[in-house]
């Protein structure tokens, strides 16, 4: 996707760089300390790829996370970005503050299903309501990995724990909740579906508001056994993409040349395009009721539908606009802009005399 200049025959092959001139390797960071084969690590790899290809400037990114195996992953990509591994479940609040302080930062949040759907549920929903521009990734494995495998609130009813206990409660569907809360970009994917994941992440990055990607990301240590509905095997064999998801950045032309009716093109706010190539489903992700109906059906029939679930262009204004903030990040305003002159105090005092 990035244009590279043709190598001259004599010189050694120049490294592949993106439009900022960065090589992909600077999008990497510390070695992962997760279990070998953990789904979260493949998401990290796809994030690295997508960030590189989207020409995201590392120093301008703020990586936000809560606590959990998933939340650790912000240490494993973008080593040249600031990262903030906060407290359990409250990342959305931290991200909100950081965003208000500096609206120019690209905020990427990584969370787990425990972090998001249990302890952090209220913050997750309220940050959606405020429309914080945040790419929010849920690495959803149906368990609390870091505390050794208890069911999370997204565990499917009937899914069986490693020790044999069956989950009796209905799962919380973070996508349905997000849509209900007015989220304008909601997607679901699978850590093993690299083809879908990279363009989805790119589209999420291009989205100017809160963008949720709920990614089934198997916990190989505690939830990858027979009977689990979040195992690799289960996810791989049950994944049913709603469409083939494509992303074309704003600076490229969409050269799609599909048969009429076989693809849907959605223009995003920045001029990028989402291209949905029809597969077996006939699904329009721009209708909220249709999205919710689909998700309920998926839940009751235990379907694992992936792809873009919901997108709306006339999203609510991002929070900084709702608050009529100046364009300059608040952190960069000089003291003169922050401290009123003595007249203001005098005026207030006068009114109290």
């Amino acid at each position: 996707m990035s244009a590279t200049s043709p190598a001259t025959s004599a010189s050694p092959k120049p490294p592949v760089t993106n439009r900022l001139g960065h090589e992909q390797k600077i999008y990497k960071a510390a070695e992962s300390t997760l279990c070998a084969g953990c789904g979260h690590d493949s998401i990290t790899s796809q994030l690295i790829k997508a960030l590189f290809e989207m020409d995201v400037e590392p120093w301008n990114v703020a990586k936000m996370s809560g606590i959990g195996c998933s939340s650790k992953t912000t240490a494993y990509f973008l080593g040249q970005s600031h990262g903030f591994n906060g407290v359990h479940g409250r990342m959305p609040a931290i991200a909100t503050g950081s965003y208000l302080a500096n609206r120019k930062l690209v905020h990427i949040g990584v969370s787990g299903d425990g972090d998001t759907a249990s302890i952090g549920l209220s913050h997750f929903l309220h940050s959606i309501r405020r429309n914080i521009p945040l790419l929010y990734i849920v690495e959803n494995n149906g368990v609390y990995g870091l505390t050794k495998g208890q069911f999370s609130a997204t565990a499917d009813r009937g899914s069986v724990a490693k020790k044999g206990v069956e989950n009796e409660m209905e799962p919380i569907d973070v996508c349905a909740m997000a849509i209900e809360m007015g989220c304008s970009f909601v997607a679901r994917s699978f850590s093993g579906d690299i083809k879908q994941l990279v363009p989805l992440i790119k589209a999420g990055l291009a989205h100017p508001g809160f963008a949720l990607i709920d990614i089934v990301s198997p916990c190989v240590t505690f939830n990858n056994h027979e009977g689990s509905t979040k195992s690799f095997k289960y996810a791989k064999s049950h994944e049913d993409p709603l469409h083939e998801f494509g992303f074309v950045p704003y600076y490229e032309e969409t050269k799609v040349d599909y048969e009429p009716g076989t693809a849907q093109e959605i223009e995003m706010a920045d001029g990028s395009h989402i291209v949905l190539k029809k597969l077996s489903h006939d699904y329009n992700p721009t209708d909220r009721n249709e999205a919710l109906t689909l998700l309920h059906k998926a839940r009751s029939e235990k379907l694992f539908l992936t792809g873009l679930l919901y997108h709306k262009n006339e999203g609510d204004r991002p929070m900084a606009d709702q608050l009529h903030l100046v364009d300059t990040p608040l952190t960069q305003l000089p003291a003169e802009k922050l401290v009123p002159g003595p007249e203001a105090l005098a005026q207030v005092m006068e009114s109290l005399k």
Partner: protein, 627 residues
């Protein structure tokens, strides 16, 4: 043994600096006590009495007489008993004084208690409808048919409940010899922008005044007379507004809050000031305000904003402090600037949301699990509430940590006559931040390294365009280069550096204010809203009991070295505070175990603002007990 503050009325003989005129049965014709009395107005909340009471207070202020107001309101919105106590005192002692001289009883619900609480000889103005409650003959009683009088003045029946309040203002005004013009000026100030209301209220006040002049026999026990040299040029305001102005001048860029009494008005004032003084020409705001979903989110946003480089603040009270505990530890350990304004109300638990105390001092200081302590700024006046509002943001960035600005309901929500707030010319302190240019100059950027020996490391902000800028922030163990570590030596050396940083805080936070006098034996230590009653008590201890005292007022935690020195130079020190558990004394005793035997305590915790008499009783009764 702790000295329990008495909530009953103070013995009249010691209740004032004019003891001779007090406590005697009323008799007409005597020379009135001038500019020294306590007025209490008993009404029901939500009935509009608040503006009437403010006008009453302001009239006295307009006449140049020092005055202070204490609003004892219930924790609901309408219909429960509420009292507004006005202390008039020519010597500037305007903190609470028990022992009401003039009670205006307008609330049948509290009338029985209101009347029985009065000392013999006190004045009672009572609504005629409530006559039946009168069961004493040792009071000077004025029965006023307010409900009848208001009818001709206020034809609109629905407004009468409000307007009737202005009538007692008029009656009191006549009884106390108010200057009617100053009363009108006060009404003008309150209702100036609403001509109809202005006229109505003027009429009601004047109506009350005139009715009283014609119908009441004035006993002239007390009068308010114009003074000079005391109130001119002053303002009447509360501490929450002063703190809000401090936060405005401190350059707040992010305010995230969740409403809670009595802190809400810090935020509401700040929002109003920001709205007025912090918009660009194009109308854009140079600040962000969020009403968070709860206190955990409120402090979370502050921490996120502080991390990214904002001057960020939240305000709350007791329950919110508890909910902010986890984030407080993160701010401490990951070293992120943050400011929490705690306007203390009576706890534990939901407690008495509209009553004052100093019950969070040790709680805020020690907030969060594990070894961590925080910096507290504790203003003892409105000027300090303002200055420390600015300073809290400076220190948060300088020390890269959480700073509490500790107010209480008394200082935050009651009315004080003060000199207009003074700006200092100290520039904003943004602390040790390395920008791209600075990063070019340093060999290595190690986020948690103690480069300067003061325990304070350098930080960078996200969005700094430099490949060396990035670091990873976490609440888990880390090396000085901010990488993850579980190594015992990394953990311990980092914790020791944090202790050094805390020692730096001892020296750069506001130092205690010390007043020593010749011949003093006892040292008093106090803080916050206790200052005014203690200043009064010291004068009276000297004048009435011949007891001279030295006084140290703590203005910040951790304790400054001056506190140790003060204690060391006294055989005995009494720590006076408004909580049951001697919270500040505990901190002092554990910081200075060698001096602990000298430290006794005087504790007041019934929800009422501290008064001088309680201090005097405590100091005299308890000259040396260690408790």
């Amino acid at each position: 043994m702790s000295i329990e503050a008495s909530s009953a009325t103070t013995n009249a003989a010691t209740g004032s600096s004019e003891p001779a005129t007090r406590g005697l049965p009323a008799s007409a014709g005597r020379t009135p006590v001038v500019n020294d009395l306590v007025i209490s107005i008993a009404t029901s909340n939500g009935t509009g009495s608040q503006s009437a009471n403010n006008i009453l207070m302001r009239t006295i202020f307009n006449m140049g007489v020092p005055v202070g107001g204490k609003n004892l309101f219930p924790s609901n919105i309408q219909g429960l008993p509420t009292w507004f106590d006005i202390r008039v005192n020519k010597n500037d002692f305007t903190s609470r004084r028990a022992g009401v001289d003039l009670m205006v009883a307008m609330n049948p619900e509290s009338a029985r208690d209101d009347i029985s609480s009065l000392r013999p000889g006190a004045i009672l103005v009572i609504n005629e409808d409530m006559k039946a409650f009168i069961n004493r003959d040792d009071l000077i009683i004025y029965v006023v048919p307010f409900s009848k009088l208001v009818v001709p003045i206020c034809p609109d029946g629905r407004l009468r409940r409000l307007v009737v309040n202005m009538m007692y203002v008029g009656v009191v005004g006549w009884l106390l010899h108010f200057d009617l013009e100053e009363l009108k000026r006060a009404i003008q100030k309150q209702f100036g922008r609403k001509p109809a209301a202005l006229e109505l209220n003027q009429n009601a006040a004047v109506g009350g005044y005139e009715w009283a002049a014609e119908n009441l026999e004035r006993q002239d026990l007390f009068s308010v007379e114009r003074m000079t040299g005391k109130a001119e040029g002053k303002v009447i305001m509360d501490g929450n507004m002063a703190a809000a102005l401090g936060l405005l001048y401190g350059g707040t860029t992010v305010l995230s809050w969740y409403p809670i009494t009595p802190s809400s008005s810090v935020c509401e004032n700040l929002i109003a000031f920001l709205g007025k003084y912090r918009h660009e020409e194009d109308g854009k705001a140079t600040y962000a305000v969020v009403q968070a979903e709860d206190e955990l989110a409120a402090i979370g946003m502050v921490v996120g904003a502080g991390w990214a480089g904002a001057r960020a603040v939240t305000a709350t009270s007791g329950p919110g402090i508890s909910l902010m505990a986890e984030f407080a530890g993160l701010s401490y350990f990951a070293e992120i600037p943050a400011v929490i304004v705690d306007v203390q109300r009576m706890g534990p638990s939901t407690g008495l949301p509209t009553r004052t105390c100093q019950g969070d001092i040790a709680k805020a200081y020690n907030l969060s699990h594990g070894d961590c302590k925080h910096v507290l700024l504790i203003p003892g006046s409105l000027q300090e509430a303002f200055e420390f509002g600015i300073e809290s943001l400076n220190l948060a960035e300088r020390l890269q940590t959480l700073v509490f600005l500790m107010l209480d309901l008394d200082i935050g929500m009651n009315n004080y006559m003060i000199d207009p707030l003074q700006l200092t010319d100290r520039p904003l302190d943004r602390g040790k931040v390395l920008d791209a240019e600075a990063l070019n100059k340093v060999e290595e950027f190690a986020r948690y390294r103690d480069v300067d020996g003061d325990g304070i490391p350098y930080r960078t902000l996200p969005g700094t365009p430099h490949p060396k800028a990035a670091f990873f922030t976490r609440g888990t163990g880390h090396t000085d280069r901010a990488t993850y570590s579980e190594k015992p030596e990394d953990w311990q050396s980092n914790m020791d550096r944090l202790s050094r940083k805390f020692d730096t805080a001892r020296a750069i936070t506001p130092q205690p204010v010390i007043d020593t006098v010749e011949g003093a034996g006892i040292g008093i230590i106090a803080y916050g809203s206790s200052d005014a009653p203690i200043r009064e008590a010291r004068v009276r201890l000297d004048e009435e009991h011949g007891l001279k005292t030295n006084y140290l007022r703590i203005r910040a935690l951790p304790l400054s070295a001056d506190v140790r020195e003060f204690i060391a130079s006294h055989e005995r020190v009494i720590v006076i505070e408004q909580n049951r558990d001697a919270q500040m004394a505990s901190i002092i005793r554990s910081d200075y175990p060698d001096l602990a035997p000298r430290v006794s305590t005087l504790l007041h915790y019934n929800g009422l603002p501290l008064d001088a008499q309680t201090v005097i009783n405590g100091v005299i009764v308890n000259p040396g007990t260690v408790n």
